[in-house]
Symmetry: C2
Subunit: 346 residues, 2 copies
């Protein structure tokens, strides 16, 4: 089922067109994007991990065909595919290695398989860098020559783009910004990766819930505690709702998340010194649309301003992402587009 | 007084030649480097901060002339100059802004002034990135497509080079690796920059002395304590000597330095994922020539291996720098060379 986005219609789309594919643990997003970064259509298909990666490659390829057909486009109008997957991976080799979210997909040459199945060149990227490239190309980062994007969800993802260069690293572990250390002590919080002190262990949704549990075990008298005692499960959404309704403890938990993020952002700024830092992902507490989201963003900015050099405090732009769940496939398409135009120039 | 290096003699030098200038708080190094990165000659002149930057520009320019003359070279054989200075700075504008080591040199357009005085194009860089570029070009990093260099001295300097790209940042604060945060707590150690928790506040020479003072106030019975009580000032060299003579406390202080560095290196690896990490600067505890230096390096490697992802632990190369105090001017010359060849190709 193709979901028409109407960001641009087929007649007005700038040619050539590109396909972006964003493989996730549960769903895989496939979108058609024009040369100006506008989405013509997007589809989400279940990843169905248990059926194996060859099955997903086949379904992705037929979804691309079907999408072009549904839009009345010739198959050759989409000239290249960008593919983002979760790590671990070997980007130059086009391999997925041992993705924790897709435990049965090991050492799979997904780039070349998708290229064979679809008959198109495929550019391969880490999903975090693909999303960052999307925001850099046509999202909140579009006015800036370099950005760092942090994606806040179950974990903390990262992407670093410096002037069209995606920082993939020499071993496909560049931009793993969730795993920078903000506390070296032996008793620092444990990260999902098994190491201590990483920003993800403080500022992810998982970490927020953990901190809430600890706080509730110690404190009494909060609205959050009453909800939990009444049987509600602790979730970031419940914490946000309680914070919005004036619960002091819940607000503290949200603003502490912003504090830890701010600390991590300072480290990233002192390493890369980007023009902007973009916060994406579901855990944005409502983003600009919500007073809580704005309060969260303001606290991040405040912590960064307090802790960075004066010149950077003056110039750095910190904002929410604007493409939502579309960033990944749009960015993947953008990476394919950059490779396509570079090859044409050469 | 020009000091002939004899790394290559004038007849065998590859043309064209480049000049590298490395401005420091006390001395300014000026060297002549051939197209293959070999140093033909180097000179050190006092920076003489109090005389102002125009005076240094004039003396630098005449030193370049004199060096070429002494070597029997025509003035036009040196086609471009690379200039590294300590921050803060505005690299695209060619300005020194408020360098803490040169407090009276504010808002000085050093790039253009040196270019006017010498009649050559000048490439401008941060001194940390210049040194990193030197190691990347012809030093310990020469076999690698990307490196991070940490310079261990009074402070901790940094330089990040990714495939000929020096990470200067949007506001000339890229690669300020000494100022990444390894401890977010309010009681974290205070850095020279006035912020807390930075790696420089743990792993610099200043920090080592501070940690030694604290340890000596608490513990008794160490050889280091006896030396101090006999009137020796606490210095990294004294601590290293005591460690080499079997003093347990001193060795612990040295290896703790390695621990903090290892933590910071992990954060940098999870951001940039370079092929190699190079440790430069005077505080290398004797480097490869000394058992203590080797022990120090081994401990850095051990901490990194324990704390990074398996793929990175397997592949990362961590080693001492090899150019010593020449890295800065050689790297500056290398940056000028890269700009020269790029302009010729265009």
């Amino acid at each position: 089922m193709t979901n028409r986005l109407h960001a641009v219609d087929v007649d007005n789309a700038e040619r050539p067109l590109f396909v972006g594919v964003d493989v996730g643990g549960t769903n895989t997003k496939i979108g058609l994007v024009d040369d100006a970064g506008r989405s013509l259509a997007r589809t989400s298909i279940p990843t169905e991990e248990e059926k194996g990666p060859d099955d997903l490659v086949a379904r992705t390829s037929s979804t691309i065909k079907q999408t072009l057909r549904e839009l009345g486009l010739a198959q050759n109008e989409a000239v290249a595919i960008g593919l983002g997957t979760p790590g671990t991976m070997d980007i130059p080799a086009g391999m997925m290695l041992e993705p924790p979210n897709l435990p049965h997909w090991r050492n799979f040459p997904i780039r070349d398989r998708l290229s064979e199945a679809s008959g198109r060149p495929v550019s391969f990227a880490n999903d975090g860098n693909a999303a960052a490239f999307g925001e850099y190309w046509v999202g909140s980062g579009r006015a800036f020559p370099s950005i760092i994007m942090l994606t806040l969800g179950t974990g903390v993802g990262g992407g670093i783009i410096i002037g069209d260069l995606s920082i993939d690293g020499e071993h496909s572990h560049g931009s793993e910004c969730g795993h920078i250390i903000i506390d070296y002590h032996d008793d620092a919080r444990m990260c999902s990766c098994g190491q201590r002190g990483h920003i993800e262990a403080y500022a992810s949704a998982t970490a927020l819930v953990k901190r809430a549990e600890e706080a509730l075990a110690k404190k009494s008298g909060s609205a959050l505690k009453k909800k939990i005692e009444a049987g509600d499960p602790i979730t970031p959404l419940l914490i946000a709702q309680c914070a919005e309704q004036g619960d002091k403890l819940s607000l503290e938990l949200v603003l502490d998340t912003a504090f830890y993020l701010g600390v991590g952002i300072v480290t990233l700024m002192h390493t890369v010194d980007p023009a902007a830092v973009i916060l994406g992902g579901a855990m944005n507490f409502g983003g600009h649309e919500s007073a809580l989201g704005q309060q969260f963003l303001d606290r991040v900015r405040e912590v960064v301003h307090e802790r960075t050099f004066p010149v950077l405090a003056k110039h750095i732009v910190i904002d929410f992402a604007s493409l939502g769940g579309d960033a990944g496939y749009i960015g993947a398409a953008g990476i394919a587009r950059a490779a396509y135009h570079k090859a044409k120039r050469a």
